[in-house]
Each structure stands twice: as structure tokens, then as C-alpha cells.
């Protein structure tokens, strides 16, 4: 049996506010299999986004451990964690988080420049550009390559963010309320696209949402309440 692509073991996370310790996650256990769509469902403040950040190695757990493909990431250097984050996961945020100075194509290309030196990237720049263009065409933005985020609609921006998340062909896509900032029609289109791409690439999908209607379309729903998995 193959290891889960992503595992959380008894993950605790708390933040200090002055002298007060505020627990956000309290012993979360989670396994995500390859190609699986998991919805993290919970009310605002339940710890969904925090769990996503911990899973994506953006924030270290206070206790517990995270495993990628069955291997613990505990003890990895900051540099190794960055590399792992790049190779293993792709992020999609609620507010798109595109870089406003870059065009749609450049925003996607940027994800391909993270691990290459200047010379190495220069030698494969045409190939990288081709891959980024193909991805943008796949998400329906073939005619928007040179548009900057300010010139794109919300749905288009999120499609750029999805293309960016997929460029490095990650094993897991971590999406934090990806439709939370879109109208229902646009949201539906974006979700359809994400699920299509997930099927095409057989990537695992962890979807943070508080929308029950969206959550039921996942293979599995994990409910969080006050930092604890309740179902």
C-alpha cells in the first residue's frame, strides 16, 4: 500500500497574544491519499486556514508532525522546506495573491523560477514559457497572457492562480476558500475547472470551505470545530 501524499499527526498549533496562549489546532490527525479530494469544512475561526498553512509548510506546528509521502518534514531546514513546498504542493488562495506588476503569463512563469539559477532558467526559458502558456490556455486564458491582474476579472485572476499552482506539477493542491471571493456563476466555473484539472493530473486536493454545497462534491469531508476534527 502506498503512503498518503499528505499526513498530519496530532497537530497542535497555538499563537501567543501577549501572555495568553491561544490554541487554534488541537491534535488534528489527517491523511490525504493521492488523487483524493478532501474538503475541510468548518465555521469561521475553526482553524481551517491554519491547518492548510501547517499542511503547506508555511507555518510550523506547535506540536505533532507533517509527513509528505510518508516522510516526516520535521527537522528540515528552511531552505529544504521551501523546496518541498515548491515541488510537493500548490497553493490557491481566496484573494488570488497574484503579483500586480506581472502579467498573467509572468505570474505563472514565476512559479517555475523558484528552484532554478538564473543561468539554468535562461537555458530552459522557452520550454518554461511554453508550459506556462499551455496551462493558461488550459484554464481558458489563452487570450489574456499579457494582461496584468488589474486588467482581469476575479474569476480570471483565480484561473491564473490555479495555473500557477499547477506549473510545478505538485502532488497536492491546497486551496483556501478558492471561490470565497467570486459570484456564484464564476465560482461554479472555477470549481469545475479545478476538479477537471485534479482528475487530469491525479493530484490530491485539499479544499478549505465553509460552503456545504461545495464540500459535498469532495470525496471526503473533514469537519473542524474549535481546532478539533469532529467528523
Amino acid at each position: 500500500m502506498t503512503s498518503p501524499v499528505l499526513t498530519a499527526r496530532c497537530v497542535h498549533k497555538s499563537y501567543r497574544l501577549g501572555k495568553t496562549e491561544i490554541p487554534v489546532l488541537r491534535g488534528v490527525d489527517l491523511e490525504v491519499q493521492s488523487g483524493e479530494i478532501v474538503a475541510l469544512l468548518g465555521a469561521s475561526g475553526a482553524g481551517k486556514s491554519t491547518l492548510l498553512h501547517v499542511l503547506g509548510l508555511l507555518d510550523p506546528p506547535s506540536e505533532g508532525e507533517i509527513l509528505y509521502d510518508g516522510r516526516s518534514v520535521h527537522g528540515l531546514s528552511i531552505r529544504e522546506r521551501a523546496r518541498l513546498r515548491h515541488d510537493h504542493t500548490g497553493f490557491v488562495f481566496q484573494f488570488y495573491h497574484l503579483i500586480p506588476e506581472l502579467t498573467a503569463l509572468q505570474n505563472v512563469l514565476l512559479a517555475g523560477m523558484m528552484t532554478d539559477s538564473v543561468l539554468r532558467y535562461w537555458s530552459r526559458r522557452q520550454e518554461a514559457k511554453k508550459a506556462a502558456t499551455a496551462l493558461l490556455e488550459r484554464v481558458g486564458l489563452g487570450d489574456r497572457l499579457k494582461h496584468r491582474p488589474a486588467e482581469l476579472s476575479g474569476g480570471e485572476r483565480q484561473r491564473v492562480a490555479i495555473a500557477r499552482a499547477l506549473l510545478a506539477e505538485p502532488r497536492v493542491i491546497l486551496a483556501d476558500e478558492p471561490t470565497g471571493n467570486l459570484d456564484s456563476n464564476t465560482a461554479e466555473g472555477v470549481i469545475e475547472l479545478m476538479f477537471e484539472l485534479q482528475r487530469e493530473r491525479d493530484a490530491a486536493f485539499v479544499l478549505v470551505t465553509h460552503d456545504e454545497g461545495l464540500a459535498v462534491r469532495a470525496n471526503r469531508i473533514i469537519r473542524l470545530r474549535d481546532g478539533v476534527v469532529v467528523g
Binding site: 498553512h53 503547506g56 508555511l58 507555518d59 528552511i78 531552505r79 521551501a82 523546496r83 513546498r85 515548491h86 515541488d87 500548490g90 497553493f91 488562495f93 495573491h97 497574484l98 503579483i99 506588476e101 506581472l102 509572468q106 514565476l110 512559479a111 523560477m113 523558484m114 528552484t115 532554478d116 539559477s117 538564473v118 539554468r120 532558467y121 535562461w122 500557477r164 499552482a165 510545478a168
Partner: protein
């Protein structure tokens, strides 16, 4: 390894954010001003040092006891293998008074009210008299060049009637040693002033010793015609029979022999060259007296060319020992730098202060870079989180801002260097154009009697300044870069 996204993103940030132009402008201005001001200042300093050097013999033996004889010293100084020539000098003070032109005659003096001499204040007749031996002096100082230069300087001040002094051109060494003007010149002056003279000019022999004044005395003397009669008066103290001090004054008619110009302002302003024998006579040493000695206050020495600093120092030491042994007393042997040490130190200090001020300008430019980059880091807080989320390392994120500083510094330093080089290269043209257009002058070169604004800018200095600016920009960029690199990704992503 610097990841590819760092320079890529840095360039996009810079191209899309005009505020970074302030940093570029700051560095450009700092580099430009440093090159231009230092180029001019170094040019001035180089020129002034050359002027000072021109007005000063290689070495001066001075602080000699009263009534020291030149002949005694000449032999011991000239015996040193490092010495090429010597010349006697006698310093004293005196008052000069040109004779008033007789009524009804056309005045041979000039009016100077049409010339801009607002910076000259030599209205009194007091002068420092430098008694020189006109036959020996050209061997230790470029006296001929001084005379040539005076014509250039006076012509530059629109005094086109000025001619080169002819008193050193007389083929007769006896006449030349007294700086006598031509017989017909003195006869003509005697005629104008109705002074005793033979009937025919052919029968006249010049008698008035000549004097050559620093050109800056032009305002007080108002003389331009060589041969013009001037009275020179000196005074010395004597002890009266009752033990009280008694002032002895002596007066002698002399002839104006022209001007010299070394461009060393103080020298040209205060000095008047007179024949040393004339000055000795004025001081009571009668040349006809068998007991009189050829007194000197200093001996000017020309050294062999190409001496190293060590060889010069050793030669000075030998000369000091030899002279002290000869006169039985201490003396000072100083080279041209030591003779003008206060002046040269003052210039060096001004130069240092100027460089410090310009360095402060550079620091301000660096601070501008720091401020704009710091502001950029704050504004790009969220981008930093995005970069971390998609796999950017801390080093790579920091490098984005280091590249920004590097590009701002490099572009500013390059533009500043090119502009600085061009400004210095075409400075005189710019100054002339500015003067023609506005009537004002950017650089008052007449203060230093300079035909052009002297500039001195070496390529190595340009490279040093440019590299310094880039390095400084890089250093100040490290602080905001460090801040960006240390930012927690989650905190950055949730920043509003």
C-alpha cells in the same frame, strides 16, 4: 545560488514603480556632484600647488644670523653633489611711491577703474622687498616664466598695453644685475618729469635701478610703462647716543621694470623684486666700502633634477650641517613644501572637507535608496508571502530587494559617472555659455588668475566613485532585504 525569480521580479518592480527613480536620481546626483566638485577642486589644488611651486625655489636656506655673507655660504652649499645652483636673497620691507606725473603732461599711468579689481586691496605702498641677484636668480627660479605669465594675466584683465619686462634682456651683465631700463627709456622719463638729463639721448646712461612688482600691485602702482620713476623708501632701527631707538630712513629713486606673475596670489600681491645690491645699499652696506659684506637673509637653492624624497631629505640635512658649521650657528633648510606648509595644509584641509561634504551627499542618496526600498518591502509584504507560498527561499526573497538596490545604485552610478565626466570635460564651455546667457560666472577663475577653470579627473577616480556608490547602495539594500527575508509567510499573506 541566487534563484532566477530574484532578478526577474526585481527588474519588474523597478520598471513598474517610478518611485525608484528617486533613488536613481539621488545616486546620479551624488556621483555627478562628487565627480564635478572634486574634479574642479583637484584641478584647482593641482594648479595652485603648481603656482606655489613655481614661485618657490627647490630649497631655501633661511633663519640665518644677521650679517651673514653669501660668498661664505655659496661655497659650502654648492659643494653638495645634490645642489645645482644657488642664489642670494635679501628680504626687507619698504614703501613704494610712484612719482606724480607733472601737470600738463600726458600721464603714463593707467586708470584701473574700468577693470574689475574688487578683490584687490593693495592700495597702500607697503611692500615686501625681495632683493635678488638678477644674474643668479634665473638659475633657481623660473624668472623668465614669471615675466611671460604677467603679460598673459594682464591681457586677460584687458590691459592690452602690458608688455613683457625687458630689464633682464640687457646683454650687459652689470646693467642687468641692477635691472636697468634702456638708456632711451630712462632719458624719456626724465624728460617727461623734467629731471636732470643730457641734451641728447645718446649721451644718457640709465642710473635708476629697476624693480619688478607682483602684478597684483597694479591697482596701487597704476603703472604700465616701463621706466616710470618710483621712489623706494626703507627704514631700519639704530641705537642713538642716549640708548634710545632711532629710525634711519633711506630713499632711492628707482625705475618701474614691469610685472611678474607666478599666480601664487600671496606672492604676487606682496612681493617686489629689487636688485640685491640696491637693497644692501639701502640697508647701509655700501658696495664701495671694502668692509661691507654681501649680506643675505636666505639662500635659494636649485637641486639636481630627479631627486627622490629620501635623497632630498638627506641633502637638506647635509646642507644644514655644512652651513651651521660654516656660520657657527643654527639655520633652517626647507624645501618648497615646507616653505608653504601652512598654505598647502589649508588647501589640503579644504579639499578633505569638501570630500566629506560630498560623502554626506552620497550618504543622503544611500538613505534615499534605503527609504524607498524599505517602503517597497512594506508595500510588498503580501508578495513576500506569495513568494514563500510558491517555494521562494528566504535568500531568494531577500535577493529581490538586494537586486533592486544594486540596479538603482548601478544605473545611478553609471548615469552620474557619464554626466560627471561630460560636465568636467565641457566645464569651461558650460561656464562660458552660462556667463554669456546670464552674465554670472559659475566659477570665479579670475580669483586665481587662471585662464581656464582647471579640472583634473582621473578615470580611476571615476571608477572608484561609481563602485563606491554601487557598494553603498548594495549595503543599504541589505537591511530591507534582511527584513523581507525574515518575514513569516503566514503573517505576510494575512497582511492587510
Amino acid at each position: 545560488m541566487i534563484p532566477a525569480f530574484s532578478p526577474f521580479l526585481a527588474l519588474r518592480y523597478l520598471l513598474r514603480r517610478p518611485i525608484m527613480l528617486i533613488g536613481v536620481f539621488g545616486v546620479t546626483f551624488a556621483v555627478w556632484s562628487l565627480l564635478v566638485v572634486d574634479g574642479i577642486f583637484t584641478g584647482f589644488v593641482t594648479e595652485i600647488r603648481a603656482d606655489v611651486r613655481r614661485s618657490t625655489p627647490d630649497v631655501l636656506v633661511t633663519d640665518l644670523p644677521h650679517d651673514t655673507s653669501y660668498e661664505r655660504l655659496r661655497a659650502v652649499i654648492a659643494a653638495d653633489p645634490a645642489v645645482r645652483a644657488t642664489a642670494p636673497r635679501l628680504r626687507h620691507q619698504g614703501i613704494l611711491q610712484p612719482r606724480p606725473a607733472p601737470r600738463g603732461s600726458s600721464s603714463p599711468t593707467i586708470g584701473t577703474n574700468a577693470v574689475n579689481f574688487e578683490d584687490m586691496t593693495m592700495d597702500s605702498g607697503f611692500a615686501l622687498l625681495l632683493g635678488v641677484d638678477p644674474l643668479r636668480e634665473p638659475e633657481v627660479t623660473p624668472l623668465g616664466e614669471w615675466l611671460d605669465r604677467s603679460v598673459e594675466v594682464l591681457h586677460a584683465h584687458s590691459i592690452t598695453r602690458a608688455r613683457r619686462s625687458e630689464v633682464l634682456e640687457d646683454p650687459d651683465p652689470d646693467r642687468r644685475s641692477f635691472l636697468l631700463t634702456a638708456d632711451h627709456v630712462e632719458w624719456d622719463m626724465r624728460r617727461i618729469f623734467d629731471l636732470p638729463r643730457p641734451e641728447r639721448v645718446e649721451d644718457h646712461r640709465s642710473e635708476w635701478p629697476g624693480m619688478i612688482a607682483g602684478w597684483r600691485r597694479l591697482t596701487s602702482l597704476k603703472l604700465i610703462e616701463q621706466g616710470y620713476p618710483i621712489d623706494l623708501m626703507t627704514a631700519s632701527f639704530d641705537v642713538a647716543g642716549d640708548g634710545s631707538a632711532q629710525v634711519n630712513t633711506r630713499r632711492i629713486p628707482m625705475a618701474f621694470g614691469g610685472y611678474f606673475a607666478t599666480s601664487h596670489r600671496m606672492f604676487d600681491q606682496s612681493m617686489v623684486l629689487v636688485p640685491i645690491e640696491t637693497l644692501r645699499t639701502l640697508l647701509g652696506h655700501d658696495i664701495e666700502d671694502d668692509e661691507a659684506i654681501d649680506i643675505v637673509t636666505d639662500v635659494a637653492v636649485a637641486m639636481q633634477p630627479g631627486l627622490s624624497a629620501g635623497e632630498l631629505s638627506a641633502a637638506k640635512s647635509r646642507i644644514r650641517t655644512a652651513v651651521a658649521s660654516e656660520i657657527g650657528d643654527e639655520c633652517a633648510v626647507i624645501d618648497w613644501r615646507e616653505q608653504n606648509s601652512v598654505f598647502l595644509r589649508a588647501i589640503a584641509q579644504e579639499h578633505s572637507m569638501m570630500q566629506f561634504v560630498l560623502f554626506v551627499v552620497m550618504i543622503v542618496a544611500a538613505f534615499v535608496i534605503y527609504a524607498t526600498l524599505h517602503m517597497m518591502v512594506v508595500q510588498k509584504w503580501k508578495d513576500i508571502g506569495i513568494l514563500a507560498a510558491i517555494g521562494g527561499t528566504r535568500r531568494g526573497i531577500g535577493a529581490v530587494f538586494v537586486f533592486c538596490g544594486l540596479v538603482v545604485g548601478s544605473v545611478g552610478a553609471t548615469i552620474g559617472s557619464v554626466l560627471g565626466w561630460l560636465s568636467v570635460h565641457y566645464l569651461n564651455d558650460i561656464n562660458d555659455w552660462f556667463h554669456r546667457t546670464t552674465g554670472a560666472s559659475l566659477f570665479p577663475r579670475h580669483l586665481f588668475d587662471l585662464p581656464v577653470i582647471p579640472v583634473h579627473l582621473e578615470l580611476s577616480w571615476v571608477i572608484q566613485v561609481a563602485l563606491g556608490a554601487v557598494l553603498l547602495a548594495l549595503l543599504v539594500a541589505l537591511l530591507p532585504a534582511r527584513k523581507a527575508a525574515r518575514m513569516e509567510p503566514v503573517a505576510a499573506l494575512s497582511y492587510e
